[in-house]
Amino acid sequence: MKLQQLAVIFVIIVVPISMVLTMYTNNNIEVLEAQADFNDVLLSATNDAVYAYQMNTLRNGYSTVNDSKIRDISASVNSFFTSLASGLGSSGYSREDIENYVPAMLFTLYDGYYLYGDYQNAVRIENGKQVYQTENSNNLQSRTGIKPFIYYTCEYTNGASGKLDLVINYTLDNYITVMGTDRNGNIVNISGYLINPSIVSNINDSSRTLTAHGIEIGPETLGEYIVAIDTIPRGDGQTGTEYTSRETEYFQYVYYNNQKYYFDPNANESRSSTYVGVNFFRLNNNLRVYLTETEANGLAQFVLNDSNADYTQLNTGNFLDSSAFKYYKEAYDFTNTFLGIVGGQSLEVVTESFNNQLNYTTLSEDSGEEVPVHAISLEYYNPNTHSISGVFDLGTGNDPETESSLFNEHRMDVIISSIESNLMSIISNFNIHHNSGFEFALPVLSEDDWNIIANNVTIVSFMQGMPIGNYKYYSNYSIVANTKNKEFVSRYSILLRNRESGNRTGSDGDPTGTYHDPRCMALNGLDTSVTVNTSDLVGYNIIDYQQQLTSYDVVDPSSHQTTQTLTYYYYPHSGSGAYECVIGKEDILFTVDNLISGTGFHSTNDAYDSVNLSEFENKVADANVRKAYITALAREKYNLYKVNDYFDDYNP
């Protein structure tokens, strides 16, 4: 055989092999890129869903009402799918196609969660009434939508012989609702904040002061800038009203019935047609409504803590908010009642999702071994007898207000086990109606992810079974925490600033000022490179530092017809975020537990990855910072809208 022939044969063998190899590698790279693209699209779509929810809730005065919540969540689901569809549009997927690959979405809220997913419709609506028919039940249609609200619940008994049977509804913080019967069979129906009772002392009802966490809590001055809309008489003298708006103005306010009541020392008749000589108002969806004398007297009696007070006694000096005092006082009373019910009892968990938690295992992708999906700590829970110990033994080591408490660990376990079991079933049910050859199942969520879910209002989306070439399917999930919402005040939602003077007129004056994260080194005097004014600190919820809007219908002065809608954007608190802690994060040192309990900083704390911070070992946060932080956190928590707040029924 000639050399040339050999060469030709060689080429004939080698070229196809190399071509196939090239194709295979290119294919793999494409799959990898597609996967990364899908990750991006899924995360952005989830982000969009969170933004949609924020936009709809932050500027809506009634966003915490349940009907409004469902509407906002539906809108959020819609924007998720729209965003996903436009992100994947170039890959040829329409929204209808995509719905086949999203087995579930999870919306965790303050006291429970909604699941979006597949369900079978057994009901037909006829003339606005629900009609149940065998025909419907036999021929179940698959629909996707939001399923009923599920509370973070756990049920306890004190053994087979005992009468104690309690259902505790948990929330994202230390607020609980307790329902059921105590050890003697008495009905229990109470709700409140659970705290470590030993941190509260010196309760003085007349001055409304007490000591909590070693810090004196008392009445405080609050104020913010607002743009309000006023109703004024019609310009043409006919009956009816018109609307007009004012410039941003600073008002002192107090919380009363979970609502802000403002003090307007300069009010007069020309300002609003609702003015009847009383200088106090509240906002009704940005519309300023001045109080009647009776209402104002109620407000005065509340603020001055005197049942004979009337509104003329109020002035800028005594118009103070004492929500923080009430938070600790009511929490103290509630905790003592609660401890009277569960104290000394050996509690067993009845809730199945909690008890089955340890049985769920999955194949780990890293090691290929069976690992539990989320393990409940055996330190307080016995999986054989289902008994728990120490969770409600409140004390210095177990303060429910802190992150590191056993109560908090148990609370998170309850939330995670409930969400996990419901998600598992909703995702596997998806298989019944979607025979794509792919088996939908709940992926393993990492411990970090569960931490985010159990401590924040979050949106979690799942996307599975999407073919991405090379016989591979795309499967992933995405978690985005909603840190700016009216639902829930977390330990991280308080920002501190100097109390505003309020003498800003129009757009100039008082625009300075910086707000800080309470954990900031500079604020606590540990970063000498930054000068911070720490006099007269006050804390506000993070959403009060966000942009708010007021819009109203402009009426043409000659035709008295609505010509356009004007929208004003404003910030309730002036100034800007500190670059060392709010915008950048490099100066954040303390943990929230350090701030709450007043404990020293430990450089080996797990929350930080570094051991090089030893120069700050055992440093404690500034007392003024702690006071402002603890007061603000208590005040904002106390004034959250809570569905079960009226539960107060227990007579042992």
Binding site: I29, Y571, D609
Partner: protein, 174 residues
């Protein structure tokens, strides 16, 4: 005479076909597979930052180690865009009717590495910040050398192994 020339040419051709061509193909494939590995490592690194909200010395070292194990040397460029809503606020306060704008300021590789080497040992980000990591090789891979033997590509974009990934941070680092 004529036959000799053809034989010499044939030997020369055969040498190219039998030795250099397979070598080139293999080297090219190695580069492709390296690209794939580096791409995966970069995506992992960036997604890790996005979902934890922090860049730690540990994760950075791991990332560098992973890509170095492919046998090439790399130039890693990082950029963090920090969301700053302060400028937008000032504008809004002067003109009520203007919606606030989101500004970003950037920190680049050396600044990020400085922070990683500082006492905190990590750079913490917040929700809404953006992170970009791009990697390209700085050495000449065997594939490049062999290719340059026949035809050389000049210019800046001669790196054969490149990967870029970016995204928005979804949680507060602390």
């Amino acid at each position: 005479m004529n036959d000799t020339v053809v034989t010499v040419l044939a030997i020369f051709l055969a040498a190219i076909l039998m030795f250099i061509f397979p070598l080139m193909t293999t080297a090219d494939k190695t580069d492709d597979i390296t690209t794939q590995a580096v791409d995966a490592a970069t995506t992992d690194f960036v997604d890790g930052i996005r979902s934890t909200g922090k860049i730690t010395q540990d994760s950075y070292d791991n990332f560098i180690q992973t890509i170095s194990s492919t046998g090439n040397s790399y130039d890693v460029e990082m950029e963090v865009q920090v969301l700053d809503d302060n400028p937008g606020k000032k504008v809004t306060e002067a003109e009520y009717t203007k919606v606030g704008e989101n500004y970003y300021y950037s920190e680049y590789t050396t600044q990020i590495l400085d922070e990683l080497n500082s006492a905190a040992g990590a750079m913490y980000l917040k929700q809404g910040d953006m992170v970009t990591v791009s990697v390209k090789n700085t050495n000449r891979t065997i594939g490049t050398i062999l290719r340059d033997f026949f035809y050389s590509v000049t210019g800046n974009n001669s790196a054969t192994v490149t990967a870029t990934h970016s995204g928005i941070v979804s949680v507060n680092g602390r």
